[in-house]
Amino acid sequence: MTTPTSNIKTAKDYATDQDVRWCPGCGDYSILKQVQSVLADEGVKTEDTVFISGIGCSSRFPYYMNTYGIHSIHGRAPALVSGLRSVRPDLSVWMITGDGDSLSIGGNHLIHILRRNFDVNILLFNNEIYGLTKGQYSPTSPSGQISKSTPMGSIDHPFNPLALCLGADATFVARAMDRDPKQLRSILAAANNHKGTSLVEIYQNCNVFNDGAFFVYTEKQSKPQSTLFLEHGEPLVFGEGNTKGIKLDGFKPIIVDLEADGVLKDELWIHDKHDQVKALMLTRFFDDNQNAENALPRPFGIFYETQRGTYEDALHEQLKHAREIKGEGDLDKLLAGTNTWEIN
């Protein structure tokens, strides 16, 4: 969403005096830092900004932002955001949530805020685990995950969060990670500039209960061949030195070796963030076994972005229209109604 700007500030100006209470090494620290610096870069005013979260480790976030903030109840942040934006479209609103908070208990509010398209930036910290309650599996944990509540492995088929969000007609969908601050910042800035609900899924390492869940994407050794960085208008390339690409064979994405197979870049799938069908296909690059031969890499970046009117704009339009046709409400007339009589 677009936001009011102010005098130059630095990331530090967005920090509070409260001790940050995440475990040492937690991925949340990096995300906090990037958010603070993006707010500084974008010149967002602290007094016009509200961070709203649910419950979870990640949901402590608002306490560390020198803005207005609510640490609400588990899963319900989208509801609070909807109410706040309905009455205060002038504010910059950010929502912080975890994979349990937004996809387990809060799944319904999430899909409803996406379809209504309130103007808010949603940062979904996905660590594929319940951190705050000490290590139960979450709706994004892969099947077979051993956790406190699944000592023999989880038997749930996990959500594909971005596929779900597109199914709910989201207007901005992106994926980032805690350990790639640069891309994270650029996505956050884009989210901030999108008018409507922007959903950014951020892979976040919980080094205490699910350490390394995303190492295959974040660590040097495996990152090149398992990640695919999406750039609007650019071909899908990845691998060490970007030597691999993805081509479409009808509806089937196939991996090609740019050097060995001699495929040209412009024969590759060119990323178009405005194409919903292609975005849907990209969300399906979701093979659970990233170590499998020929597994599709996991995409990061902006999958999809489109313009659709926001709920609050439509709401304000409707009020304006009502005033135009009926005139500003007159309370005394309203109280009197249409039929009155006198008793003397």
């Binding site: 207005y68 205060r88 002038d90 005033r323 409400g329 008793i343």
Partner: protein, 615 residues
């Protein structure tokens, strides 16, 4: 033919028919006409649970009871003087509510074989049976008469039959010497642009009126003179409507935006429908995906500085309790409307009950007191919900406002206020700090123990709130043991202190120091007040007190209670308020309960009080 005119003080008419028969509309029209004429009126609609249950069955009967008179009325009447039935099922469902000697006006074509069978009457037409000997039965073939009135209208039979109710209405206007004017205006408005429908309906209405004039069977007409109500300008109002108006008025008087966030549920939805029509007052309605979201949205809006209201009925309130707990912790204003219905669970959705009082007072985890306020009649919904908004905003607290299905759908004349006469509502918005080095303390309190409302957009007041226990003054998260006790006690004390800012308890009828006090709350007001007034007239030392402020109670409540020898508490539940009074004051208050989805009758209350008096 010469007809006589009889004067009546008070008449109770019960209209009944299939839900498709337009019973509610007929009842409402008759009510409006009488109200405009100057009678006091009190109504009680009684819907079937089905949208449109199978025609002709008892389950599908819709009823509308109306009491109008030249006296002050507080209830829609116990038993009807006149029962208007459109078919056999309607008779079957309602005959028990007709006074001995009362009049039955029956649509005879609603008593054909099929209708008799559907109503479960077997072969014999009850209109001809001995069992109705104790009533005056008038049969009118409304269907046939309506059809002949419209034979040239060009309308189809289905459409024609839909205006049967106008015939009945016209006939009753004749019978009670009322003018057709209000209803004709209504018809013109309703069918604006469809002249053929206007003509047809007016024609049938008049046909009904003339039928009274010309028919040989009806020799008496009645008149009910205007009531001696206090001077003023009146309108008729239904409870849910008054609630909606009260909310708009509170937003207007406090100069705040209103967000009404709600999820539909019977019998609360009409408040949403009413409010959605007033967007030109800046009213924002938000139909949320569920009750939790509605409560959450209200909290979000409240944080943003708006008047935030959410409403539901019992099952939906159950879902809101976690969020209400959050609002308690955040100390943000918010009004939660509960239009109570029959429980538990889905229960009896279209029937009335007072069984969510415990839920309002105690239905949250942890020590989480909220203010509880209850209305006692359709028009009182306006005052009470306005008060709920005022207290929420001025004392920074969630307030639960209790209504119920009976008053929500009932109506009565209302000497509505001028907007300028409404008590002002003053939100305590925090001002920017002057010294920027200072740290803002969002949980600092004033003498009422109330914190300020620091809304986003205000420079220097950036702060964070949340559901974890908070440190005194700073509002930071605190796990300190003494701080927790302090905060729990302080939140409770803040609510208790509101007693200093509300009126003292008065008596609705009778005098202090009597033999029996009937203590009521909610929509039992009318029945209790009438019963007590009658007993006083009969020489008994009884009185009636009615609680609007349930938590906290007025400061003098104990004094009032203790000035009576006995206390009886009638409730439409299995004894809730009585438990609170007993525990608070260790007084042996006597419960009197009815759990039938129906209001008390005046007779029931009288009989019970007499029993206690004579015990």
């Amino acid at each position: 033919m010469e007809k006589t005119l009889e004067l009546k003080k008070e008449v109770t008419i019960l209209f009944a028919g299939d839900s498709g028969d337009g019973i509610q509309l007929t009842g409402n029209q008759f009510t409006n006409t009488n109200a405009l004429f100057g009678n006091d009126v009190s109504t009680f609609p009684n819907f079937p649970a089905e949208i449109r249950a199978p025609q002709g069955t008892v389950a599908g009967v819709s009823g509308f009871q109306l009491n109008f008179g030249s006296l002050d009325l507080f209830s829609p009447g116990d038993m009807a003087d006149v029962l208007v039935v459109m078919n056999a099922a309607a008779l079957k469902a309602n005959i028990g509510n007709l006074k001995t000697g009362g009049t039955i006006i029956a649509n005879s074509s609603g008593f054909d074989k099929k209708n008799l069978r559907l109503a479960g009457y077997g072969d014999e037409n009850p209109l001809q049976a001995r069992s109705l000997d104790k009533y005056r039965v008038h049969e009118i073939d409304v269907t046939k008469l309506t059809r002949s009135a419209l034979v040239d209208s060009g309308l189809g039979t289905k459409e024609i039959d839909r205006s049967k109710n106008m015939f009945v209405l016209g006939f009753l206007y004749w019978m009670y010497s009322r003018s057709l004017e209000t209803t004709i205006k209504f018809i013109q408005n309703k069918f604006k642009g469809k002249q053929h429908l206007i003509d047809a309906n007016v024609k049938v209405l008049k046909a009904g009126y003339h039928y009274g004039d010309t028919s040989e069977t009806f020799t008496s007409r009645y008149d009910v003179k205007p009531a001696d109500l206090p001077k003023g300008t009146y309108r008729n109002v239904m409870g849910n409507q008054a609630t909606a108006l009260g909310i708009v008025a509170a937003a207007h008087r406090s100069n705040m935006q209103l967000l009404y966030a709600s999820y539909p549920i019977t019998p609360a939805s009409d408040i949403l429908h009413e409010l959605a029509r007033h967007k030109n007052f800046g009213v924002k309605t938000f139909q949320a995906e569920d009750e939790i979201a509605a409560a959450g949205a209200a909290i979000g809006a409240s944080f943003g500085g708006a008047l935030a209201v959410t409403a539901s009925s019992g099952p939906g309130i159950a879902l809101k309790t976690e969020a209400i707990g959050l609002a308690v912790m955040l100390e943000l204003p918010m009004v939660i409307v509960n239009v109570q219905r029959g429980g538990p669970s889905t229960g009896l959705p279209t029937k009335t009950e007072q069984s969510d009082l415990f839920q309002a007072l105690y239905g949250r985890n942890g020590e989480a007191q909220v203010v509880v306020i209850s209305a006692h009649s359709p028009s009182h919904c306006f005052d009470a919900v306005y008060e709920a908004c005022r207290i929420a905003v001025e004392h920074m607290t969630p307030v639960i406002f209790l209504s119920d299905g009976y008053m929500a759908n009932g109506s009565e004349p209302w000497a509505f206020p001028k907007s300028s006469d409404l008590k002002p509502i003053k939100p305590k918005f925090a001002k920017p700090l002057e010294n920027v080095e200072e740290k803002y303390l969002p949980y600092l309190r004033d003498e009422k123990l109330v914190r300020e409302w620091a809304i986003p957009g205000t420079k220097t007041l950036e702060h964070r709130v949340g559901g974890l226990e908070k440190e005194k003054d700073t509002g930071n998260v605190s796990y300190d043991p003494e701080n927790h006790e302090h905060m729990v006690k302080t939140r409770a004390a803040k609510i208790a202190k509101i007693a200093d800012y509300i009126p003292q308890q008065t008596l609705a009828a009778g005098e202090m120091d009597g033999d029996v006090l009937v203590l009521g709350w909610g929509s039992t007001y009318g029945a209790i007040k009438t019963a007590v007034n009658e007993l006083i007239a009969e020489g008994y030392k009884v009185a009636h007190a009615h609680l609007t402020y349930i938590n906290p109670m007025p400061n003098n409540i104990e004094e009032v209670l203790k000035s009576f020898k006995k206390i009886i508490i009638p409730e439409l539940n299995d004894a809730q308020m009585v438990n609170i009074i007993r525990s608070k004051f260790l007084l042996p208050a006597i419960p009197y309960n009815k759990i039938q989805g129906l209001p008390f009758t005046i007779q029931e209350i009288k009989a019970k009080v007499l029993e206690i008096l004579n015990a």
